[in-house]
């Protein structure tokens, strides 16, 4: 494989995630309404929103500095960077595969988070700072869970490079049912719920500022900035879904060779896998109520315990 091929496939991955991210948000939004026996919006609604926002003007508060203007780009930047590192469509490593591993991906996601929370304060409204504070709370509580999951993965696969984990992790396939694997999946799922701001941690469709976690940060963003923030956060969700399904849950069905047919097949498989995951998430969401703010610590504490158990199971595995 040449550098050009490898780079090209990497860009294809990026395009896949960037373009399809909104549709997954749309699907989630629709399905969430559907389980409540409502019709729900079109799955293409996010694209319409983006178009509308991009055509509006950008408004900043007078106190805002360049940070507030840069933050939306940073929010988009981190998931895009991570996309370059992980196996989205191919099971062989691409150009960016070794520019960072899963641990680095965690740090990369912090770029967007850092700038978004700083920018939330920069806008000058009190809600922004409040949301930033709460987001950081979820953020720092989630971090130990992530690292313990990585430990568990590392004990089994002896690597944190997603491409290699993907090949080593569920090998032989019977290991799918090993306790370490299952517990890691549970812990990571809980982590995704927290990181993407879903129930029971946060209510993405809530409208009460005092109860918001994620949304109150971006209350003062408008127009193209808001579009970028929205897009960026849906990309982040997709990146997490991809890691979950392609690396941890079911590392099968990816293109093994760089030809068009295999890639097309991979696109379809990955799309379906993510849909299955979304269905799972919706099911979880529909069955839970939102937690009070400081109960989130308990929720993530539970996730931590699950992760530790997974790690111990991984160590004890024959």
């Amino acid at each position: 494989m040449t550098i050009a091929q490898s780079l090209g496939l990497n860009i294809l991955q990026l395009v896949f995630v960037v373009l399809l991210a909104p549709v997954f948000s749309g699907i989630v939004a629709r399905w969430r309404e559907n389980v409540q026996f409502k019709r729900g919006p079109s799955i293409w609604q996010p694209y319409r929103d983006l178009r509308k926002l991009l055509s509006k003007e950008d408004r900043y508060s007078e106190s805002a500095t360049w940070v507030a203007r840069f933050a939306p780009y940073a929010v988009c930047l981190s998931p895009m960077l991570v996309t370059l590192l992980i196996p989205v469509l191919t099971s062989f490593p691409l150009f960016g595969a070794f520019a960072g591993d899963m641990l680095a991906a965690g740090f990369i996601l912090a770029i967007g988070s850092f700038f978004l929370t700083v920018a939330a304060v920069d806008t000058g409204i009190p809600y922004g700072a409040m949301g930033a504070s709460r987001t950081r709370m979820v953020g720092f509580l989630a971090e130990p869970v992530l690292i313990v999951i990585l430990f568990a993965v590392s004990f089994v696969a002896n690597s944190t490079i997603p491409y290699i984990v993907q090949q080593q992790w569920v090998q032989p396939p019977a290991h799918f049912f090993s306790p370490a694997h299952v517990l890691v999946l549970v812990a990571f799922l809980m982590l995704i719920i927290a990181e993407t701001g879903r129930l029971p941690v946060d209510n993405p469709s809530g409208h009460f500022e005092l109860a918001m976690v994620d949304e109150s940060k971006v209350l003062d963003f408008s127009g193209p900035s808001y579009a970028l923030v929205k897009w960026g956060s849906s990309m982040k969700s997709v990146v997490l879904y991809v890691i979950f399904v392609n690396v941890l849950l079911a590392p099968w069905g990816l293109a093994g060779t760089p030809n068009a047919l295999a890639l097309g097949e991979a696109i379809a498989v990955v799309f379906v896998k993510i849909l299955v995951l979304l269905a799972l998430l919706i099911a979880v969401e529909a069955s839970l109520a939102k937690l009070r703010l400081f109960r989130i610590a308990e929720y993530l504490g539970a996730a931590f315990v699950v992760a530790v158990t997974a790690m111990i199971a991984a160590v004890l595995a024959p």
Partner: protein, 680 residues
Amino acid sequence: MSVAIGGSILSCAIIALGISALFGALHAVVVPFSFPLLGQPHFELTRFTGFLTLLLGVVALPTSIYSASYMRRYLGHYAIGGFTGGYLLLLLSMVGIFAAADVVSFLVAWEIMTVASCALVSYEWRRLSRVRAAVAMLVMSEFGTLAAILAFLLAAQPAHSLDFASIERHAHSLSPQAVDAIVALSFFGFGVKAGLLPFNAWLPRAHPEAPANLSALLSAVILNLGLYGILLVNFVLVPQGAMLFGILALAVGSLSAIIGILYATIEDDLKRMLAYSSIENIGIVVAAFGAGGIFFALRRFDLAALGFGAGLWHMLNHSLYKSLLFLGAGAIDARAGTRRVNQLGGLARVMPVTALCFLIGSLAIAAVPPLNGFASEWLTLETLLRSAELGPLAFKIGFVLAGALLALTAALAVTCFVKNYAMTFLSSPRSAAASGVRSDLSAAAGIGMAFLAALCVLAGLFPAHVAQVVDVALPGSLRGQLAQALVPPFLVRGGGGLPSDFLRDFTALGAGIGNGVIPGRGLVLLHRGATANPVVFAMSSTYLAAFSLIILAFMAIAVRVLVRRRPRSAHVWAGGIEPIPPEFEYTATGFSNPVRVIFDAIFHPRTTENTREAIDRHFRVAITRDREDVFVADRIATNPPSIAVRFAANAIARLHHGRLEGYVFYALGALVVAIVAIAL
């Protein structure tokens, strides 16, 4: 100004010295006089200490330049000459510590450094709080030094010499108990200086009280001295204690890290926050050393190199960004007259240079890629993840717990610096002090900070090169192992002995880009594994930065193309009130409140309730609750012994009641006891 000129010249000399030592150009220097009773002093810079010396110089140079602006605030109040003298003496003594090759010269230089730094902390000697802080620092350092002295003496026992070289030669004949004692004593003894739990209560008191340029040195270099002491004894002189050292260091390091960052996050005083954060960073460094020590004891030298390398690397990075942040905080203090974040805000518009430098420092310390803090923190965690290769279950679980703590630490660090950067520089001013600020400090301060900021960025962008420098500096048998384990020679002609299929795979992935243009072994940090998993972990912030730039440029162009309307600014909407009054703003305390609530058990605050009553003391008007956070190190390690000593002192003082008959009775009693016990 004298500080700036003298300091800069000396720093340049130190840098030159450090570089020449790092690349092996310096040999032993024996001074032609001898200490009474205790032998001939030797001075020698090894590559390892050369690295530390270089680091000292690199931090001291911008700090000295910065002083030209900063020290103006003391003109007419305090003698600048005294500061200059102490400052230069401090720098010299630190070089002396690195260069010392025997116990006595080490201790003498060490103590000069301690005393000079304490004198400088109490530079504003009319403020009693400064003096108290300096004394607390001096006293605790002294106890640490005493423990370290005991460790040195124990280590020197088989050698019958206080020379480092001969101690090292004879260390193998130490008994296991002696080794354990040496490890524990030196670890906790030097740990005092390094700011490790539980004996670091002085640190958050002393660092903020010093002038900012000194705070920068204190946090960026003097803490390194403690780490150097720990490494010197536990790694260079008595390496067979590596296992105990590793376990201690891993536990204490990760606990220090988490405790440090927790207190930093809730702290309101900017410089004190930085001081707590130093505890955190040193904790990370020591945890990395601990992992290295355990690997070393288990004879996994490649992994040990990773651990010690990660530690040294983080030490380097911490020195750079922490000095930068302290200088920034000093600039704020000098301009706004307060360091309380709750009273600041909106400074980015009036102090743009400081704001930018502080942001870079914050990003670096929060380990945001591609800045320098990221690389070393990532490597530290990766090293911990290598516990996968350890046998015993207990080690694995220990590493996992340490890893979890460090991960929590890293995340809290982001929280902490988001809060501090945002609340200090963004939004609008929260007090008259903050709104009265008109400009940045003068150019010299800007140059100093920009220098450090540039170093932070550069060290972040080229981690593979920094790793090679750190590798050279690794002491003992580990030299060369880090580069071997971490920076595959992609850029070396012929692949530097890498297997050809491995090389082929990675050439397609761009690892070889830059061959022939960029010096060094490669641009990717990559730990190689077995055949099944050819790569264990990998990272290249160089590539990440390049990707980021391309993506950002692409996005910028896309937005430019897609968006037609130009941005506009407007008032913040707050329920119709305009302009938004300062008390409407979210406070820094509020921002960090979740941390305070969640970790209440650790903070264990003392709260006092004051009820204000009116009308014949019948109606409660208001209840205010004062909360005082006592640093946990104070609670567990500093207060109990000091209370015990005071108690014992008072008990003994009661013997001195002033009545002669009692005194005669003591003497008579002693006489009777002596007669009965000795002669009968």
